[in-house]
Amino acid sequence: MAWFTRKKPPTEAGGEGERHVRTEGLWLKCESCSQIVWRKTLEENLQVCPQCGFHFRIDAAARLQQLFDGGQFEIHEPGMASTDPLNFVDAKPYKERLAAMVKQGLRDAVISASGPLDGRPVNICALELKFIGGSMGTVMGEKITRAVERSIERRHPLIIVSASGGARMQEGAVSLMQLVKISQALMRLDEAQVPYISVLTDPTTGGVTASFAMLGDLNIAEPGALIGFAGPRVIEQTIRQKLPEGFQRSEFLLKHGFLDAVVKRPDLKSYISASLKFFCD
């Protein structure tokens, strides 16, 4: 037996679409530049590689910690869960998928929270990619709509940090209608002249991009994030050719005029704060 034969497949158990920060060791290898990074340095740099600037994916809880002052915030509707309107069964029943996530402490793919950002009260919804690909079903539709309503009522700015594969297939057309539900609430937010900043992170595709993620007063993204309507595989199958390098990445959208700015994670909070100051003060 060779010394360096891999016993396990090279990817993590999460499989496709999951890029976790390996947390077991003190050191880890950047998946972009392959440099060895001290884990603590990476944490201090908000999970951005200090050598090459690669942005590791972070979860919703970490995102809220980074944006709210001192990580202080109040969570809304923490127990809201889907009742499986279609009684959907694929490889296993959707109900079982949901139950498995509850064991991990997650009830749906978004955390909705309120708290101070540089002293200013704001509402932030952060999408959780680990929960069925960050997909939007009835719970996300309701929680985000309520967050929008809360923003109108209290006149507190809204920030939504997206990371999602799109509408949740397991809830069928019910998911689809959530695009309308949220978009029309954003119409009212717009009329109330309360600011909404949409932050697109890796990846944001499908019905999430085709609704609230593209409707911010400002639409900004982290570097290198995959952003689009159709997924790259679907497009490749349709046109039957390889996609150009950098297609559907943040910088591509910036170039084509669909993002207002690409903002590095360490600058995100100050960017949002300065923008809200411009709009509100």
Binding site: A91, G137, A167, M169, Q184, M187
Partner: protein
């Protein structure tokens, strides 16, 4: 548009046995029937004085969406819909009914024009989905759809939406924010095509029939879920067997909806539409965490 589903199922080997026909799959076949009447077939029969308006005044004209000024039983209305082609030449011209961003932007331009002059809007949904191509992405397919969803909710005129064939996800929905959402008996409305869904969940696009049933995309399913208001019957074996009768029945349903909505003031129309979609999908519980 699809969710990321996990891949626990091994790829299916060997050729699967043919699926027994199921009602959902039969409806999909009818919704996609090569002879099924398309938007222009209905426009021809239900409206008079149709005057098409082209272009988004920004990039170009997209023939996958047609729209214009028309008279519905004597009333001036704006009509907009996705248009599939029938023969090869038409299919290419219409891009198989798959709109690009300029199509959605044209549609919004027409709908805003209607609202400005107080004309009701009638939209017809019939598309496999928004076009998934490089150019469509470059020109902001997602942004175009998103904007339509938000802006349609702001229009102070009656909006009647009819799903006449394939209601293909966000690409259909971009014309779908109405005070009334009607669906033809054999039309379908789905978050993802049965083929794509099957490819994700069963790792086998051949299991589309099974996926069609699981996705609950037929008119009765959607009515049961509270996502559409009314099912409009089709003649004979389906709308393709008698265009005139199909158009007559649909016209009667539109007339009824229009009568009901015409009594409402602009603000009430906006609030009515808002409340309708606000209530959609109340399928959640709140556990005490």
């Amino acid at each position: 548009m699809s969710s990321n589903a996990e891949s626990e199922q091994p790829a299916q080997s060997a050729t699967p046995a043919p699926e027994p026909p199921n009602p959902a799959w039969q409806r999909v076949q009818l919704a996609r029937h090569p002879k099924r009447p398309h938007t222009l077939d209905y426009i021809q029969r239900m409206f008079t004085g149709f005057s098409e308006i082209a272009g988004d005044r920004a990039f170009g004209e997209d023939a996958a969406i047609v729209g214009g000024m028309a008279y519905f039983r004597g009333r001036p209305v704006m009509v907009v819909g996705q248009q599939k082609g029938r023969d090869t030449k038409q299919k290419l011209l219409r891009n198989f009914g798959m709109p690009k961003p300029e199509g959605y932007r044209k549609a919004l331009r027409l709908m805003r024009l209607a609202a400005k002059f107080g004309r009701p809007i009638i939209t017809m949904l019939d598309t496999p989905g928004a076009y998934p191509g490089i150019d469509a992405e470059e020109r902001g397919q997602a942004e175009a759809i998103a904007l339509n969803l938000r802006e349609m909710s702001r229009l102070g005129v009656p909006i009647i939406v009819i799903v006449i064939g394939e209601g293909g996800s966000g690409g259909a929905l971009a014309l779908g924010v109405g005070n009334r959402v009607l669906i033809l008996q054999n039309a379908v409305y789905s978050v993802i095509s049965p083929e794509s869904c099957a490819a994700i969940i069963y790792r086998d696009a051949g299991k589309a029939a099974q996926a069609a049933a699981a996705l609950k995309i037929t008119a009765p399913d959607l009515l049961g879920l509270g996502l559409v208001d009314e099912i409009v019957n089709e003649p004979g074996e389906g709308a393709h067997t008698d265009y005139d009768e199909a158009a007559q029945w649909l016209g009667d349903a539109i007339a009824k909806a229009l009568d009901e909505l015409s009594a409402l003031a602009p603000k009430d129309l906006i609030d009515h539409r808002y409340d309708k979609f606000r209530k959609m999908g109340n399928f959640f519980v709140e556990a005490t965490a």
